[in-house]
Subunit: 187 residues, 2 copies
Amino acid sequence: MSKVMIHATVSVDGFMADPDGGMDWMSGFPVAPEDEQIVERICSDIGAIVGGANKTQTIEDGEIPYGGFLKVPVYLMTHREHEVVEHDGTRFSFVVDDIEEAVRRAQHDAGEKWVSLLGGRVARQCLALGLVDELRLHVVPVVLGEGIPLFAGLERQLRLERLATSAFAGEVHLRYRVLRDVPAPGE
Amino acid sequence: MSKVMIHATVSVDGFMADPDGGMDWMSGFPVAPEDEQIVERICSDIGAIVGGANKTQTIEDGEIPYGGFLKVPVYLMTHREHEVVEHDGTRFSFVVDDIEEAVRRAQHDAGEKWVSLLGGRVARQCLALGLVDELRLHVVPVVLGEGIPLFAGLERQLRLERLATSAFAGEVHLRYRVLRDVPAPGE
């Protein structure tokens, strides 16, 4: 069955965005061709996407997952019914509150490929439910000090197995398996 | 002149300790001989240490920086005068509130070697004052979700230059230069 990854770009101190949701800090550092190849390789493995509800307002504005260049089904969490949207060759389906249903449908669509979870809330909900197989993180050479954390509010420790680490210019690319059967100390 | 590093072990999400100050999560993952060599190499470059005030109570209990195996002068920040303590071959000096004085004295002692800053508060104060040359981080394969962050409350973004990245077993070792002359976007 399709596996599930959390795919995110973060600061060295683990934030996805600055306190205002800004992401300007994600640019302005050296990038190597190998950095782009790593992202391309991850993206070519993705067969469906599950994203947060806040993106439902912005499809028409072009603010869509992966800038819209990944032509795979997208499931967006929402709080009320919304019709399917076809936009620029991509199908956006809306799932009311039930994250497990969203992941299940995305996994069905993805087939042998991966489901990519975007956004902190979706990521944390899926981690809490034990639905996540791997983390793929791109660590940008910036310390933000404060901001919107990827993992805050997990309410449990998560043990990982490091699968791969690489770095070519400014970024560090981290791949971890989520260990489900190894309880964190104190549990 | 002696350079200054922040040397810390952190979780993937940037915490130094769990919410209760606990560090149990720092063990229980695979370690390779190369991991220990990296720590030994960093430690052999350290000529003096500046640490937080909370350690002043615990010298006699043996809870001392680097477990006491680094026989270099230690400066501990405190809020009231305290005599120098000689303990197990190490000299502990206490500096009342003035972090710049502590770093200056540590740099004098360190000579050609590095000053290591331990603890979040000391690290953040020195970052804010522009006293830090490098970060040396050991990233443990654990997501804590919540805890005591290394960098929280910095009140500014910090641009870094990645100098080295390595990984052999569970940990990822990161070395960054702190860029002082490159303003973060929006500044």
